[in-house]
């Protein structure tokens, strides 16, 4: 990653039946990005699952600042997790993890 690239952290609320593992969530996120924007678009996101709490059903994502809208659209397009209906709501976006935890989690 080039030095000085700005990042954004997204707090996600996971709504689904049962709990989802970190691997399943990561796979669903990448699948959504790839389906909507292809490999070229996915390469511009810098997407990373920073944190996942299965008990409280929230997760924290990191992406590059310029790809924020692209990632939000991809997250919103997820309707299934583990083959069951699900929804991911973006509770908030912040420039630092500290502020994200303070404001939204």
């Amino acid at each position: 990653m080039p030095k000085g690239v700005r990042r954004r952290y997204l707090a996600l609320k996971i709504v689904c039946e049962g709990t989802v593992t970190e691997g399943e969530l990561t796979k669903a996120l990448w699948d959504a990005v790839l389906r909507l924007f292809g490999e070229y678009g996915a390469s511009q996101t810098g997407l990373l699952l920073v944190e996942h709490n299965g008990e409280r059903n929230y997760a924290v994502l990191r992406c590059w600042h310029k790809a924020l809208e692209l990632v939000r659209a991809s997250v919103a397009s997820i309707t299934e997790l583990k083959g069951k209906p699900a929804a991911l709501h973006v509770m908030g976006v912040s420039g630092t993890l500290k502020a994200l935890h303070k404001k939204f989690l």
């Binding site: 709504v15 809208e69 659209a73 397009s77 709501h89 973006v90």
Partner: protein, 245 residues
């Protein structure tokens, strides 16, 4: 602060728990005005009950009816019967004749079309008629969420074209969820970013989720209020204390 509106919720009205859950979720996600699609023959009592459920969570219920006429004559009949009973009237246009009639009728608030791109009749002629009659074009996000693969590609392509026409003729766009379950609801900002898939700028999309639906609801509430006479004319006082002219 913007007040967001979702004018197209389609909850199961018989299942009270699901209905309450959906209204609660929609309000928590940031929607203030909740348009619930109601059957045309719903009683006043049921509407009152729904209004109470919404006001209990702090939301504002907007009564909405979805008309699906087969012919333009059928549309006129339905409008005559139901226009004054509901705050928002949406017409699902299944044929070109119905679409044209709906676009030029001032009693129609929202023009809605089928998922099938071949049955979406919003073209330049329709856009021109709709801009004169002040009807808005509704885009249901549930259709984008529920489709996948090539059908979604075709739908997005069609929506992009319709957005372009709407922009050219200044036809207002309304973005709504069209959700029949909680899983199809999203935060307003997420719907706005999804709208970027059919080239609607973020600011316009947010407007289509707040200002545009709010103005439709407020205008219709004014029209349905007892003192309304005609555009720009309303009774502000009546009775013995009014000066005689």
């Amino acid at each position: 602060m913007k007040k967001f509106a979702d004018l197209h919720l389609y909850p199961p009205l018989r299942d009270r728990d699901s209905l309450k859950g959906m209204i609660n979720t929609a309000f928590r996600l940031g929607y203030h005005f909740l348009g619930v699609s109601l059957p045309a023959r719903i009683s006043e009592g049921e509407i009152r009950e729904l209004r109470e459920i919404c006001s209990a969570v702090g939301a504002d219920l907007v009564t909405r009816v979805d008309l699906t006429p087969k012919t333009s004559r059928d549309l006129l009949n339905q409008l005559r019967h139901f226009r004054r009973r509901f705050e928002v009237v949406a017409v699902t246009c299944l044929s070109k004749a119905v679409a044209r009639q709906a676009a030029k009728d001032r009693r129609v608030d929202l023009l809605s079309f089928s998922l099938d791109p071949r049955k979406r009749f919003f073209d330049t002629a329709e856009g021109e008629l709709a801009s004169k009659a002040l009807a808005a074009l509704e885009m249901n996000m549930a259709s984008i969420l529920s489709l996948q693969g090539f059908p979604r590609v075709r739908l997005l392509s069609r929506l992009r074209w319709e957005t372009e026409i709407a922009k050219r003729f200044k036809v207002p766009l309304v973005i709504s969820s069209g959700a029949d379950s909680e899983y199809l609801l999203r935060v307003p900002h997420d719907f706005a970013t999804l709208a970027s898939l059919f080239d609607l700028p973020l600011s316009s999309a947010l407007n289509s989720l707040s200002e545009v639906p709010r103005s439709i609801v407020e205008q219709n509430r004014l029209k349905l209020s007892p003192g309304y006479v005609a555009p720009g004319i309303r009774v502000i006082r009546e009775g013995k204390d009014c000066p005689r002219v």
